[in-house]
């Protein structure tokens, strides 16, 4: 199945809004929607169609403690309670790229017109024959509050990937941040690599790894056991971002 298929898109968007898409399928669709404005517009159209169904749902007065709790969380001077957040906190569908765009601009500016000099690559350049110094693909991954968390860049000649965390990443003992590539057409999720510290990570890519990035729509991150990648994500998506092709025609 191809996610480009308008009929499939329409079926998924309608099922999503109708509440008929659940669990992993729902999360995957949300990740997909973040990456595809067209899909988001379909969802909005379905929201417009179906939301009137809620008009006759009886109003029920919530207890006063709900407002007190909300007020405590939004008031700037109140002691900030530790927050539990979910993917939906991002509400990425209703906002422009914001902070991610800023980071992306910075990444691109670093490489703009630069073919011979790449600050990130100095150490590597010295030890191998000419490498491509500008990345072919870049993904800026953001967290649930739309703050950029890491930049993943992929280079060819030879194939390699650089992960630059933008903030301290400290998983629990035995856990690691698993980066996944979400395939553009099928939505298939493939494990790419694991990040377990805030250090810049440089890894060679094999053919499969390169293919996974090349065909990916977006990259996402979940928390998994450190070591071998599981077959599928076991937890909610923590970070995600579009994977942009910087060389060929840009597909968004």
């Amino acid at each position: 199945m191809r996610y480009d298929d308008p009929q499939l898109q329409e079926a998924l968007a309608s099922a999503y809004v109708a509440g008929a898409l659940h669990g992993r399928a729902r999360r995957r669709f949300e990740a997909l929607m973040r990456a595809r404005p067209g899909l988001r517009r379909r969802v909005e159209a379905w929201e417009d169609r179906l939301t009137p169904l809620s008009d006759a749902t009886p109003a029920v007065q919530p207890p006063a403690r709900v407002w007190r709790a909300i007020h405590q969380r939004i008031a700037p001077n109140s002691a900030a309670a530790p927050e539990r957040r979910s993917f939906w906190d991002s509400l990425a569908f209703w906002r422009p790229f914001g902070a991610v765009a800023a980071v992306l601009a910075l990444v691109l500016a670093t490489y703009a017109g630069v073919e011979t000099f790449a600050p990130w690559e100095e150490e590597q350049v010295a030890e191998t024959t000419p490498q491509q110094v500008a990345p072919s693909y870049v993904a800026v991954l953001e967290d649930e509050s739309n703050q950029p968390v890491m930049v993943v860049t992929a280079f060819k000649g030879p194939w390699r990937v650089v992960v630059e965390p933008l903030q301290e990443l400290s998983p629990y003992a035995g856990k690691a941040f698993q980066v996944w590539a979400v395939e553009r057409d099928s939505g298939t999720i493939r494990p790419l690599l694991q990040v377990s510290s805030g250090e810049v990570l440089r890894l060679p890519l094999d053919e499969d790894g390169w293919a996974a990035i090349k065909t990916s729509e977006s990259l996402t991150v979940t928390l998994e056991d450190a070591g071998a990648a599981p077959a599928a994500p076991s937890g909610p998506v923590l970070y995600s971002g579009l994977c942009l092709n910087l060389k060929g025609p840009t597909e968004i």
Binding site: T51, I74, W88
Partner: protein, 198 residues
């Protein structure tokens, strides 16, 4: 403060008012947020309660939803439609998300209707006050087969999975999925004929 319920959702003037409140929220105006909460929280709590069926869960979903609305008020696009549509879908998605979290899933097995007297089931009395938009959707749903319609409404109002709907209607899950898919397509075609949703 003591919030009071209103029927902001179905009144055009209120829609404009809610839009203004959201804009003020995006500028950090807490008084506007408080007014927004007063105007909409009872409606949204009812919607969340219908999906989650437990007050404690609906309270949590409501809290999360309003915190999001506060943080992301600026991303509501006034050109897109009713502010209430945006707000309802924030709370719906929050509720569906909560409903399917594993720990809530376990608790659901232990829940029974008697434990929660304020369960918001389909309430015939509420059908009396319906908006024009709702009449149109209901009109189009009326063109579907009864079972197709039931499948869509059970999914929409209660967040039941196709498997749960199938169990409820004693039909194969594949059939239920087909009904939902085809039913929604027919619904869209019908609404488009009426000039809705395009």
């Amino acid at each position: 403060m003591k919030p009071t319920a209103t029927r902001a959702a179905s009144v055009g003037d209120s829609s404009e008012r809610l839009g203004q409140l959201l804009s003020r929220c995006s500028l950090g105006d807490q008084a506007a947020f408080s007014e927004l909460y007063e105007a909409t929280s009872a409606k949204l709590f009812g919607i969340s309660l219908r999906i989650l069926r437990r007050e404690a869960w609906a309270e949590e979903a409501l809290q999360e939803a309003y915190v999001k609305m506060w943080r992301h008020a600026g991303s509501y696009n006034p050109g897109r439609g009713r502010p209430m549509t945006w707000m309802i879908n924030v709370v719906r998605n929050q509720s569906l998300d909560l409903l399917r979290r594993a720990d809530y899933r376990v608790a659901e097995d232990e829940w029974s209707a008697e434990k929660d007297q304020r369960t918001s089931a389909d309430n015939p009395a509420a059908q009396a006050e319906t908006s024009e938009e709702m009449q149109q959707v209901l009109g189009c749903l009326g063109n579907l087969g009864e079972e197709q319609r039931d499948c869509i409404l059970l999914s929409y109002h209660q967040g039941l999975t196709p498997t749960e709907v199938a169990h409820r209607l004693k039909r194969p899950v594949g059939t239920v999925k087909t009904w939902i898919r085809r039913g929604l397509i027919k619904l869209r075609e019908c609404l488009e004929k009426k000039g809705v949703g395009q």
